[in-house]
């Protein structure tokens, strides 16, 4: 079956598929949605980008002149070195801990059924279904009570609350699709639990773990609400520092805020591009199948 699908099409067949593809109504709808989305997205990204490189900009199409001075100004003014360090530290810690806690839990949920499993699944579903601000307010209140809010630990703990369930819920279907007979076969051949985990399961799980980590990383760097509610002055991540920069405006120039926003977007973009080189988040499920059919 797979061989039939994978067979390389001839030039003529390609031409026919292309014509057929443009004959589909779905293609036109998709092209329209994509075009509309992309034009507006370009506008939304273009304005701050142009502004951050511009000298003065009032009602013309583009700024009057070009300069890069706002980037240096923003770096010094908002002490971005410290902010970037905090952001990196928080996100790496959140990814590491959520994978360490989440993947074993996902394995247990995927492989075993037990009384009260639905309740446990609900427990993992709720932090994702409830908006962060809803549980963030009581959570921040509790963290303040234990003097953890305002510290890096508090920020990491708060960010773990949606991340652990996220890892569990993305990894559970992934693990379910791995044939349990592979593990059984390894055990039959005399592998101990340790080597089943290390040499059989882990290589199969790596694509899923990478995808889940990437998504958690992007979520954490971009997570505004929870960090905003629990961060103190020296535990702000970039996204929260940006928000405060806008709100405590006044003397701050619009351009240096835009420059900071562009820096945030650039760093997120780098993360995303790196991520997409290593793992295709859209193929969480099919990858496993491909590996099975093409050993």
């Amino acid at each position: 079956m797979a061989d039939l699908l994978e067979r390389r099409p001839t030039a003529r067949a390609k031409e026919v598929t292309r014509r057929r593809r443009w004959g589909r109504p779905g293609t036109w709808i998709a092209a329209a949605v994509f075009g509309f989305f992309f034009v507006n997205l370009a506008g939304v990204v273009g304005v701050p980008l142009a502004d951050s490189f511009g000298t003065r900009w009032f009602t013309t199409w583009l700024p009057e002149g070009w300069t890069t001075k706002w980037y240096g100004a923003a770096w010094r003014e908002f002490s971005l070195g410290q902010v970037f360090w905090t952001t990196a530290l928080v996100s790496v810690l959140v990814v590491a801990v959520s994978v360490l806690i989440g993947v074993p839990a996902a394995y247990a949920l995927a492989r075993r059924s037990f009384p009260g499993k639905k309740l446990v699944l609900l427990l993992f579903l709720l932090p994702i279904l409830v908006p962060p601000l809803t549980y963030g307010i009581p959570l921040a209140t509790v963290l303040y009570k234990f003097h953890l809010a305002g510290t890096l630990t508090g920020v990491v703990l708060a960010n773990l609350v949606p991340s652990v369930p996220f890892v569990v819920l993305t990894m559970t279907p992934f693990i379910e699709q791995i044939d349990p007979r592979i593990e059984a076969a390894a055990r039959m051949c005399g592998a101990r639990t340790g080597s089943v985990l290390l040499r059989v399961l882990t290589p199969l799980l790596v694509p899923g773990i990478l995808a889940a980590s990437v998504l958690v990383l992007v979520r954490t760097v971009g997570m505004f609400e929870l960090t905003f509610l629990t961060a103190g002055p020296d535990s702000q991540t970039l996204v929260v520092a940006l928000y405060y920069a806008v709100f405590s405006a006044g003397i701050r120039t619009q351009q240096s805020i835009d420059a900071m926003a562009v820096m945030y977007t650039l760093s997120m973009l780098v993360l995303l591009v790196i991520a997409l080189r290593f793992v295709n988040p859209t193929q969480l499920v099919t990858r496993v199948k491909e590996e099975h059919t093409h050993p």
Binding site: L41, I101, Y135
Partner: protein, 279 residues
């Protein structure tokens, strides 16, 4: 005792400690009003004051359309980009890119792009479609646009991963049996995709319902986009009335769970049966 089950213990313990306990603490706190007046005083205060009560409708009016638009737009795009074709990676990256923008850049961009002197109004006036600039920022539309831009990538990624999770041989079987493309979509793919779509809608709705920074930055936080999260935040961390803040947070959670249960309940009424692997 099955030792595999112990693997789930740290995750469960973590959530009990940092999710359930604070939630219960907040729920308890919401029944202990700061100024006295009985256990329900905070809730009575919220529902008696039209300015506070209205925040529920304002938030729903923003979140439901945003989630609907995102889901409906995600389906055709996901369908089109599920198979391999040249430039697929580039297009997928572009579609997912808004995740990287963050609320502040989106807000700054929307203020500039949709503003009275922004590129959109300039272009529309340039081609003679409108005489007066459209008012698109510092009101409802700015916030809705921000929600759609930030929410679409998530809806798209989820839909795509549900769609690629459907076994292609089912569609091939339908084609072999003579089903046309529309029939294959309606009778094979859509029922298999429905659970995924319901979950996608719920997650998009939840993302949009928690709108907070964009309502402040591109909206009209004292009027048209006075959303419930602004009120909860102000009560808890600006007026330091944690009890009222928790009460509003509980109202938020209740409204949101009601919508999610409604959607999932509706889904299971419409369709019962095996789902495509996930669901």
């Amino acid at each position: 005792m099955d030792r595999t089950l112990l693997l789930a213990a740290p995750g469960v313990a973590f959530l009990l400690l940092l999710f359930c306990y604070p939630f219960g603490y907040g729920l308890g706190l919401s029944f202990q009003p700061k100024d006295g007046g009985g256990a329900l005083a905070n809730y009575r205060r919220f529902f008696d004051d039209p300015y506070l009560r209205e925040t529920i409708w304002i938030t729903l009016k923003l979140a439901v359309p945003a989630a609907l638009v995102n889901c409906l737009a995600a389906v055709p795009v996901a369908f089109r980009t599920r198979g391999p074709f040249r430039g697929r990676r580039l297009i997928t990256t572009l579609l997912v890119m808004p995740i990287t923008l963050g609320t502040v850049l989106t807000a700054q961009g929307l203020l500039g792009y949709l503003g009275p002197n922004g590129w959109l109004n300039k272009a529309l006036r340039g081609i003679g479609l409108i005489d007066q600039p459209l008012e698109l920022v510092h009101n409802y539309w700015g916030v809705l646009a921000s929600l759609i831009i930030t929410g679409f990538p998530f809806a798209y990624l989820l839909t795509l991963s549900y769609l690629t999770g459907i076994d292609p041989s089912l569609e091939q079987a339908a084609a072999t049996l003579g089903a046309r493309r529309a029939q294959r979509f309606r009778y094979v793919l859509l029922p298999l995709l429905a659970p995924g779509l319901a979950i996608t809608f719920c997650l998009s709705f939840v993302l949009a319902f928690a709108v907070f920074p964009s309502a402040q930055l591109v909206g009209d936080p004292r009027g048209e986009t006075h959303v419930i999260s602004i009120e909860a935040y102000q009560a808890a961390f600006q007026k330091f009335d944690y009890a009222l803040g928790s009460a509003i947070a509980m109202v938020m959670a209740a409204v949101m769970l009601a919508v999610v249960l409604l959607v999932l309940g509706w889904r299971s009424l419409l369709y019962r049966g095996a789902t495509g692997g996930k669901g």
